[in-house]
């Protein structure tokens, strides 16, 4: 049996990080190789050419980053937290979470508390645009790179954030609507159930929906009430919509939770023929697409947004990337339309926080 050399130990510890045992076994070796492969897959999924990705690597010293998103009650946000923590482990970053609790006031208090402490970098998805400006400015003044995720923290030009990583909500609304209206045959009544009207994502998705609707003159929008992301409101709205309109062909929802809630109402009223589509592509919706309960959903890539924020933070702190010089002010985190053909593969990507 070959004896281990001290160099082997050092290499394994370096690859596997602090969690590697002092006396590495074969399982440790596999774990280390697996972590390296996972990191490669993450970078590849992020669209990095290996030749160009030389600068993006785990930090040589442990970093501490503070993260906050709208509220961990939302599955999209909870998944984002898991993704940030997974990427953090790969890149030697301890991710500390400040929950926004789906409340502008609570998130503001959390970010005030965040600003009172020292961090290597910070990433925030704001619940209410403009409500976090003051503590974010304080952190930036201290020299902490602040990365905005998904939603602008303030109107453009007010805060010098490091970069803004977000999906294109107009595009998400339009691509999935195109699939929906095409499947509906291009004629008949259609419904759009909106999220909260003040939410920039809902506004973008509605805009994308209407852009596509304009090219289908024989489709008639019969209802576009907001349900404020609230599934109980969705049920109430759809009870009425189905009573008022007997010939609805298709429906677009600003997120999947609302789409699935409406699906139950439709099924209960014997209207399983209405084809529906949503946004987010969280696992329950992807499964619904696989089962044919939903036509399609478009991915709002929670894992990319949160994972890339970790990468951008490490690149700033360990790689010395400067705002406005080495990193653009906006990075598009795009997501595909999920149909029955692509659903299974997509679920695998989500399982490993790759999209």
């Amino acid at each position: 049996m070959k004896e281990k050399s001290p160099r082997d130990d050092a290499q394994l510890t370096a690859i596997a990080g602090d969690g590697a045992a002092a006396d590495p076994s074969r399982r440790d070796l596999f774990r280390a190789v697996g972590a390296t492969a996972m990191a490669g897959a993450l970078f590849a999924s992020a669209g990095f050419d290996p030749a160009l990705a030389q600068e993006l690597k785990a930090s040589s010293r442990p970093l501490r980053a503070a993260f906050s998103n709208a509220g961990l009650q939302a599955t999209w946000c909870a998944q984002g937290k898991q993704a940030a923590e997974a990427w953090g482990r790969l890149m030697n970053v301890e991710v500390v979470w400040f929950d926004g609790e789906l409340s502008a006031t609570k998130q503001r208090a959390s970010i005030d508390n965040m600003a009172a402490q020292d961090w290597d970098f910070v990433a925030i998805q704001t619940f209410g645009i403009g409500t976090l400006t003051d503590p974010i400015r304080r952190m930036i003044d201290k020299g902490t790179p602040v990365i905005a995720m998904d939603t602008m923290v303030a109107p453009e030009g007010q805060v010098d954030i490091h970069t803004f990583i977000a999906p294109d909500n107009v595009m998400m609304g339009s691509v999935v609507t195109a699939q929906l209206l095409s499947a509906a045959g291009g004629a008949g009544d259609v419904v759009m159930t909106q999220g909260a009207l003040g939410h920039s994502g809902a506004q973008g998705r509605a805009k994308g929906f209407k852009q596509i609707m304009a090219s289908y003159p024989e489709m008639r929008l019969v209802d576009e009430q907001p349900a404020d992301w609230d599934v109980t409101k969705v049920a109430r709205i759809w009870d009425s919509v189905l009573t008022q309109h007997g010939d609805i062909k298709a429906a677009f929802f600003h997120n999947d939770d609302m789409a699935l809630a409406a699906r139950r109402v439709m099924d209960a009223k014997g209207r399983g023929d209405i084809i529906i589509a949503g946004v987010d592509a969280m696992p329950p919706a992807v499964n619904a697409v696989m089962e044919g309960k939903m036509l399609a959903t478009v991915r709002n890539p929670s894992c990319r947004i949160h994972g890339w924020a970790v990468a951008a933070g490490v690149a700033a702190v360990a790689g010395g990337e400067k705002r406005g010089e080495d990193i653009p002010s906006f990075i598009l985190a795009d997501g595909p339309v999920i149909t029955q053909e692509t659903a299974a593969g997509h679920l695998w990507l989500q399982k490993h926080f790759l999209i």
Partner: protein
């Protein structure tokens, strides 16, 4: 010897009786001291002047709302519309202010002073409507303020229509986000409200009437107190406090938008009750509210300074609040027999 032995037990029982009587006030203070000690020992960033100012800043808006709510709860009434009124009033002051071009709101800009006067007048009207419903029509305050909550939410929705407003009158912007001698202006405003309310409740006839109405409404009526006026007045005071908090709140947060202040309702009620003011009226006061505010402020702030699972924080917060409320109820139960004995 025998006389000493005879005199001891009553003295001990008097001291014990005093302690039991004060348990409602003492328990929240003990909870507060215990929390400060715990967070100080577990986090190096908690016990600093900067963080103390942070806590005061975070509770300042809740404090202004809680002042009004203390008056209401002392009369054994409740106001569920405080957060919605704060939200509506904050949006109203933005409605009367010129907004940036990119804000797509049909508003009515007027001079800053006039905007504040108009908004306060609207706030007074809201309070008066609630008071009319409760004292003249006879709708229970729980239901009336629930309706007013819906109305205020409707006003907010109508005025902003899903948009966000960013500009406010200069005076409001200063009081909401500026500093006075290095102290956040909202803290100073909250202090002014707390001190004024304490003086009114402690040293004025109106203050004594508030306690009388809450303690025993029938007795107050037989004593010649205009109970309906007192209840109406505290509801107007509640609305005005919420309105001021709403105006400063939009400047503090930097924007006015729908459902922005929803969490203030439970926070303000919790602050009043956790501090030791009785939900059944007649007992408590601003001192209790201050302790309640600090308990909530320290709890919320401290949990962000220790390494703890985010999902666990909400549960811990709930459990500590429950413990404080249980102490509150037991304190009342222990005091009741003593009060009966004295009577």
């Amino acid at each position: 010897m025998s006389s000493t032995a005879e005199s001891r037990p009553p003295r001990r029982s008097a001291a014990m009786g005093f302690l039991l009587g004060q348990l409602r006030n003492i328990a929240p203070v003990i909870v507060l001291i215990a929390m400060v000690a715990f967070f100080s020992s577990t986090s190096s960033t908690f016990l600093t002047v900067a963080n103390f100012m942070n806590i005061l800043s975070q509770i300042s808006l809740t404090a202004i709302i809680a002042v009004g709510l203390t008056f209401v709860i002392l009369t054994a009434e409740i106001d569920l519309s405080v957060a919605a009124v704060a939200n509506a009033v904050g949006i109203m002051v933005a409605y009367f202010t010129l907004q940036p071009e990119y804000v797509n709101i049909a508003n009515m800009p007027v001079h800053g002073v006039l905007a504040i006067v108009l908004t306060l007048a609207a706030c007074f009207a809201i309070g008066l409507t609630t008071a009319f419903g409760v004292t003249v029509i006879g709708i229970p305050s729980f239901i009336m303020t629930l309706a007013m909550m819906q109305i205020a939410n409707g006003v907010s929705a109508m005025l902003v229509r899903g948009q966000i407003a960013y500009n406010f009158p200069d005076a409001i912007t200063f009081l909401g986000s500026g500093s006075i001698f290095g102290v956040r202006a909202t803290i100073v405003v909250a202090l002014v409200f707390l001190v004024t309310a304490h003086l009114v409740l402690t040293y004025t006839r109106f203050g004594r009437y508030v306690y009388m109405v809450g303690g025993n409404r029938e007795a107050a009526e037989y004593s010649g107190v205009n109970v309906r006026f007192v209840i109406g007045a505290v509801l107007v005071i509640g609305a005005m406090c919420s309105g001021v908090a709403g105006m400063l709140g939009v400047a503090y947060f930097g924007s006015a938008q729908q459902t922005q202040f929803d969490t203030y309702l439970l926070d303000a009620i919790a602050a009043v009750v956790v501090g030791g003011t009785s939900l059944f009226g007649g007992r408590g006061g601003i001192g209790n509210t201050v302790i309640g505010l600090l308990v909530l402020g320290v709890l919320n702030n401290g949990l962000d300074h220790i390494q703890i699972d985010s999902f666990l924080k909400i549960l811990i917060r709930g459990l500590i609040l429950l413990a404080a409320l249980i102490v509150n109820v037991y304190a009342q139960a222990l005091r009741a027999p003593r009060t009966a004995d004295e009577g």
